[in-house]
């Protein structure tokens, strides 16, 4: 097993997904909002990046818009697109609570996904937009994969710092108050609806950035990359890590991606073994979820960390 490569992949993918998990954590553990359509904001970021940096359509392309902007403009556009999508979906849904909010956001994500598949003028339909621009191709002696891992880790770090700072401030305290008891929070002049909306919107922005990074990493924006499965994975990471502690969330995500990679790192040399492995992988992954959710190892680690600090 090639450990350095494995760690690089875990850092890259784990950090990108970690940003999404952090945003989900902010919405859920602090804002009290269950968002089951988080993948749509991720997809919005990736597609915005793709459309912004893509050259104008030509030849066999079916998409209608390509602005050929530089990568950084695409990156900014991704955050903006996720924000806009959050405004559009948040405006009608945020007055809903709990499960109903969860299911409406899920429905929005499905609508968006179906739209991307069928409206071929946006992103070429099922085949998606490919060969997307990567920031710089020549990093001198540093291999590009390290640059990506570092960029992903940096995005995670910046998101973590920003969210931490926000949550350790009176703003975070007020959020906790709103989540605990909306009526009592309103009785001390906390603008409940406004603050919930703010949390919903600001947490969407890093998800958009993560989407852009993911698009750069895979050089692809394709509907099949952004299915409800991504939402499930991120939620699993969140629950694995324990909902409340912010490091647990990151740990849970990295742990999940690590597991996926370890399972995949095993080389199979015959068709039969690869076939068996494919079904066994599902079974093992499922059993592991069940076991981890029952035993909560990540939760305990982060509790211990907390107790020691």
């Amino acid at each position: 097993m090639n450990w350095p490569q494995l760690i690089i992949t875990v850092i890259t993918i784990g950090s990108i997904l970690g940003v999404v998990t952090l945003a989900l954590n902010l919405q859920y553990a602090r804002g009290g909002m269950i968002n089951f359509g988080i993948v749509a904001y991720f997809a919005a970021g990736a597609y915005a990046y793709a459309i912004a940096t893509q050259p104008a359509p030509q030849g066999l392309d079916q998409y209608s818009f390509g602005f050929d902007w530089p990568w950084w403009a695409g990156f900014v556009a991704a955050g903006f697109a996720a924000l806009v999508f959050a405004v559009v979906t948040g405006w009608p849904t945020l007055r809903l609570r709990g499960e109903y909010l969860a299911l409406t956001t899920f429905a929005f994500a499905e609508v968006f996904h179906s739209f991307l598949i069928n409206e071929r003028r946006i992103g070429n339909g099922t085949v998606g937009l490919s060969n997307l621009e990567r920031p710089v191709s020549d990093w001198g002696p540093i291999e590009e994969k390290y640059v990506f891992a570092a960029a992903a880790a940096l995005l995670l770090l910046v998101t973590l710092i920003a969210f931490r700072r926000l949550l350790n401030s009176p703003y975070g305290r007020a959020l906790d108050a709103i989540r605990d008891d909306e009526i009592a929070a309103a009785a001390v002049a906390k603008p409940v609806a406004d603050m919930r909306r703010q949390v919903f919107l600001i947490s969407a922005v890093p998800v958009g950035f993560a989407g852009a990074l993911y698009a750069m990493f895979t050089t692809l924006a394709q509907p099949s990359l952004f299915t409800a499965e991504v939402t499930f994975v991120v939620w699993i990471a969140l629950v694995l890590g324990g909902e409340r502690p912010i490091y647990g969330v990151v740990l849970g995500t990295l742990g999940l991606v690590f597991f996926e990679e370890v399972v995949r790192a095993w080389p199979f040399e015959t068709v039969r073994s690869a076939q068996i492995a494919a079904s066994v992988e599902h079974v093992v992954t499922g059993l592991l979820f069940i076991a981890v959710l029952r035993l909560r190892p990540f939760d305990r680690i982060s509790e211990q960390l907390k107790a020691r600090a």
């Binding site: 009608p92 929005f108 069928n118 699993i236 909902e243 979820f289 959710l293």
Partner: protein, 286 residues
Amino acid sequence: MLFLQFLVTGIVTGCFLILATIGFSLTRRVEGFLNIAHAELLGVGAFATWWFNASRGWHIIAAAAIAVVITALVGLGIARAIYDPIRVRGPAVLLITSVGVAFVIGGVIDALIGTGIRTLDIGLATSYEPFGIRITNYQLLVVALAALVSVSLALFLNRTRTGLAIRAMAVNPELAASRGIDVRSTSRATWLLSSGLAGLAGVMLAVIATLTTDLPFAQILVILAVAILAGLGSLYTVIASGLIIGVAMDVSVYWIPAGYRPLVAFAVVIIVLLFRPEGLAGTRAA
């Protein structure tokens, strides 16, 4: 006329959705969480039917009956072994666990069945055209089963001791327990019932569709749509929302490309939820 044909097709689709969702909704009401693995239970029912019918050569009715029983027992076993011990951890953990369970069932089915398509050893559907509207015997069977299941479930829940206990559990588990309802046996009845219903939906899936190991889980999105639309309401709202989504999806094909069917299903969900945030059941708390 074409429109009527779409409408009838939509009703059949809706009836299948009712069969597929009714057990899911029951679990959700009584056990309080979304059991994503329900879709894979459809697979257990479907492939059990296929195995007994196509591989062992049993008559379809015998195969279907045993498949329903097997699925009910598998569902109960999973609930006892996996869901019960973590019930106290809340619906989110249960939901994610059920995704894990879905992976396990899916993986096992994959390993046992393999890729490729499977069909039952039954004849081709026979078409009837009353009033110029085409409908097949299998479609009629789906409608009849949906009606039968709905009526008998309604009678069961309203008239029998166990049924009333299930309803009491759904409304208020603590109260139910304090009033002397045997929670454990009621929960067992619920799991047997909801899983058995998944098995029955699986049988119908095997009858009308072409089976692949991916097909059962592909139904989870529509099942969710129907369940969301129904909200936490009674049996009747599940019936209503199954029909609404079925008809909306199929009739939409009259105007917009068929590729948009899932979009239509979820658009209906969004619109209804915006006006009735608690779903069709819609008793809003003050």
